[in-house]
Chain length 293, copies 2
């Protein structure tokens, strides 16, 4: 069901050589061939084949990554991370969806103790301020928390967003200007799930003054640091998020979050089977530790 | 290596009964037991076990989802989506990482033709404006593009962000106020990858005036619509992103995007093996259609 790769290659070559001769025609031909109603609109052809789902075991593996992924702060091991593995998780990030295919991300890898220490200082300053923002009872607890593994994780990675990548007008970003930021977040989540499958823990540290973090890493102020990630092998993955285990906040009942047709409409009428499926699934996860598969 | 679930349950019960007696002590005990340096700091115990990676085949399945995921606009089939399947992908979204475990998302499911048509009208208005923003040569092409499958996809889903969820001060969001938006984006990407494993196509539509979309769905103006998704079975998944196939923009060489220690530092010296691994991997994907596994 896939087009042969040579077709995409051909379209690409057409564009690359567009300066030779009638560039508009060539670009339009490439678009028409490969993009506009690509390969026939299946709605007009009800006998069209249906793309297959993954096998049951492959699907279960994807869900295992999703449901057993954790934000890791305290379990990092000093074991070095092989380059081929690091390449795979970076490539997973690079294949996130991006608005208008702008791929606005960069990947700034930090391995040196000196740079990690500089970033840790930036974190520590912000974290002291953060503690003061909580009410008395929670403040003392907050100040004891381990919220990052900057110095212990063998790899730190800052994923950024270059908002000017690919020019001023971006397809799909004309009305929601934050879409480029969201694209970089999708890269973070791709990397996080790939890392889980590789047995690598990832922790997202967000307690920084943006400018101080940019300065510690030499990032120009027009480039947005989206996520500062601590990455490494870990002793174990917790069975639940740490904040859930600690009773800071509970996992919300999903049926409280699902609406039908209009905001706030939880009338389960014809959606009763979905509601029941969701309630059972959440109970299995919370009480039995059984993930959907 | 996992704690028994009863431990988490116990911590949670301690908090639930905190109004009885010295709530501060009880909350602190729960935190200390379950959160602060959880289960020992592995850095101080180098003989600690190391969490296992997935098996090779399970890991390959996760990468298959990541690398074969597509933004689908034109290949939707009318085949109904079973409720148990829909429940799984929604639950995957609900298990995204969220800053301070605030879980700021809601899931507004749209199946009725009337609501879809209203949203389509909002899209069409914005899309006409968008076409005018492109330079002449691209404008005609833009206006021919199929950028959404709102009416064809059996399910539409708006994933939102409630910025006031869990109160004014959120752990981890004290200095980067956009972290809540990013959490909802992680939910989108979890759902998207789960859907790929289920054989469901997903298309993210972002060409809307925010207020018009909110009004079409009854969403209060303080709730941010993060993603409007078209979801359904598809005839096929393209082998590459449509914009790449059409030559609109190429996939960027990942080595142009990776820096070491400081922004802009591409001195590959000691990072040469990683650079080589990335270059080979990208070549395998682009030229042979072979994904990392």
């Amino acid at each position: 069901m896939h087009l042969p790769l040579v077709k995409a290659g051909k379209a690409h070559r057409l564009v690359e050589s567009e300066s030779e001769d009638r560039p508009g025609d060539r670009l339009r031909a490439a678009w028409t061939a490969a993009f506009v109603f690509p390969e026939g609109d299946s709605m007009e052809n009800p006998s069209a084949p249906q793309a297959q789902a993954f096998s049951d075991v492959d699907r279960a593996a994807v869900y295992q990554a999703i449901f057993s992924r954790r934000d890791v702060r305290g379990q990092f091991l000093p074991t070095p991370v092989p380059d081929d593995l690091l390449a795979r998780v970076l490539m997973a990030a690079h294949h996130a969806p991006s608005v208008g295919f702008m791929q606005p991300w960069n990947f700034l890898l930090v391995k040196s103790d000196a740079v990690k220490q500089r970033v840790h200082n930036v974190f520590a300053e912000a974290n002291n301020e953060a503690a003061l923002m909580f009410p008395n009872e929670k403040r003392e607890i907050y100040s004891q928390l381990k919220l990052q593994g900057i110095l212990e994780a063998p790899i730190n990675l800052c994923i950024t967003c270059d908002r000017s990548r690919s020019g001023p007008v971006v397809l799909g970003r004309t009305h929601m200007p934050t879409m480029d930021l969201y694209s970089s977040v999708c890269a973070v989540q791709n990397l996080w799930l790939a890392a889980r499958a590789e047995g690598l823990g990832v922790g997202w540290v967000s307690i920084f003054h943006e400018k101080a973090l940019q300065d510690a890493l030499g990032i120009p102020h027009h480039i947005v640091p989206i996520a500062y990630l601590c990455i490494g092998y870990v002793s174990h993955f917790n069975n639940k998020p740490e904040l859930e285990k600690a009773g800071w906040l509970p996992r919300l009942p999903i049926n409280d979050l699902v609406y039908f047709e209009q905001w706030g409409d939880s009338d389960f009428g014809q959606n009763f089977p979905l509601t029941v499926a969701l309630a059972k699934m959440q109970s299995d996860i919370q009480e039995k530790g059984v993930f959907p598969a």
